[in-house]
Symmetry: C2
Subunit: 316 residues, 2 copies
């Protein structure tokens, strides 16, 4: 971390970025890092491949995140956050090519792609690491950065429910609240922000619940979606409501393909299963896109899951 702070001090212009399909930790850690760099008088651009999820738009300075680089924008350093490899950046990979790369992450699978790598698998989230950077520099965290970092810790620990919820992550959450983060306001924005249509759709999805060999499944067809413009993020978490389920899977029918969202309680690494189908992710949350018809994809993923995690119906 000392080397990291030294390096930041020497450089003037930064690109801050993170992985595709940004989650709360990606968004929170980027915003807090960028805010810190700006306070140090640096030029900063925050680049995201796609617009961030609507539920994170309430975050201070979320509007500063751009999806394309401003014309003539040059940067010396690319700070890549919460990404195990450069592939996780999607199209943004091209913009970090040839720059001085700072890699800050908590994924144990991180491939140390940076010129400077700070990877701490014990940390609940990358936001937790940015908190340590700010404290080490002796800078005030402040309400804005505290709010961003709280979102990162909250979402990456599944609302303090996943096994990465440590004494440290709760202690830092406490410190962030002292700095001005509002836990109930943030939780409401992140978790309690559904439309009527979303709740009605969730109702239909819950009705499809099944358990097979320790794997809970639900699905969402295009017919169920109709023409509703609804955000189905978080639906997959509902599969883990089931007891006696180690893995939760939500199958979402798209045009000719199926988005498979995988969730685990932490005992099992679902990113293994996602990788078998060309996807990826975390131990507790991963996803893949599989070509084919819903019922057939469901069958294939379930078979692979039972093979990988070695629990069949007989031990239920």
């Amino acid at each position: 971390m000392k080397k990291l702070i030294e390096e930041i001090g020497l450089k003037n212009s930064f690109l801050v970025t993170s992985h595709i399909d940004p989650d709360g930790d990606a968004v929170g850690s980027q915003l807090a890092m960028a805010s810190l760099l700006k306070e140090m008088g640096k030029r900063v651009v925050i680049l995201s491949e796609k617009p961030i999820p609507k539920k994170y738009e309430f975050l201070p300075s979320a509007r500063e995140i751009v999806t394309r680089l401003p014309a003539g924008c040059e940067h010396q350093v690319a700070v890549v956050l919460d990404s195990a490899s450069l592939k996780r950046l999607g199209k943004i990979e091209a913009y970090v090519d040839g720059k001085f790369l700072i890699n800050i992450d908590h994924h144990p699978t991180n491939v140390h792609f940076g010129n400077l790598n700070w990877v701490v698998p014990e940390a609940s989230s990358t936001s937790e690491l940015i908190y340590h950077v700010i404290k080490e520099m002796g800078v005030r965290v402040g309400e804005e950065r505290a709010t961003c970092l709280y979102v990162g810790i909250l979402t990456d620990t599944g609302g303090f429910r996943f096994p990465n919820t440590t004494s440290d992550s709760l202690r830092i959450a406490s410190a962030l609240v002292k700095e001005g983060a509002d836990p109930s306001k943030i939780a409401t924005q992140v978790y309690l922000n559904r439309s009527m249509d979303e709740v009605l759709l969730l109702s239909k999805v819950l009705a499809t619940v099944e358990i097979d060999g320790g794997i809970g499944t639900m699905y969402l067809t295009r017919g169920m979606m109709k023409d509703m413009k609804v955000n189905t993020e978080g639906f997959s978490d509902h599969v883990l409501q089931l007891k006696d389920v180690d893995v939760g899977v939500l199958f979402k029918e798209l045009d000719g393909r199926v988005k498979v969202s995988l969730r685990s309680r932490g005992k099992i690494d679902v990113s293994m299963l996602a990788r078998e189908f060309g996807g990826g992710g975390h131990e507790t949350a991963a996803a893949c896109l599989v070509a084919g018809e819903l019922s057939e994809v469901k069958k294939r993923v379930l078979e692979a899951g039972k093979r990988l995690y070695g629990r069949d119906n007989s031990d239920q």
Copy 2:
């Protein structure tokens, strides 16, 4: 608190009890308090009007909670936890009558019924107060008590989502994890422990969602329940998933009566509405039993709610 500790030191036999329909804080604070008293060499009985909810049975020494006093059992002191008044004890009120009463609570509505009252409305939970007692006495918290107290803080803050989630409550949660409480194991027991039937029933309940004047409602009929033996605890929390809703109400049809469960995000005190119908509870969670037919009760409660909280359809 000093006086409390002094008084405990002087007495030998204790009845530890809490309110009817015990929640996680009632159970957690009772078990931790009883464990502390036992370590001090006191005789202790933990008395509950009814068996505790199944999801708390995993707690260390939960089996020691009895629903009737052992024959010949006499106690000098009754420690009443998490209860705003003696009425909240239901039938147990008779057993504390005439004893030296210690009242430890965090409800702002507490009527100070004890011979010794320690009421701290700023505390997230009674479990938080028991934590302070243990620390003040210089006793080790230990894994067992830490687990009980973590359950109390977790559930009373709605999984760290309600406005009573303070920097202090998170700091204490962090300390309890350091003492051995397992956050993800506990959250799984408390929140992620539903049967297939419960999820299917929840699906039906979500399909009944409506919003009227800032009040979200869902209902559960006897027809939907059929003969299923399901635990519907926590269903009412799902109404607050809706954005733009200040109050969530679940109507559960019983035999000739309707159980009305009220939830708020903290801006509104739902116990006011519960009291209008002879019920009670907290600011963020309250309930009442109303005689009558479901649709009629729903109409009456909604009307009272809109009158009390003064938001009609026009400001949506």
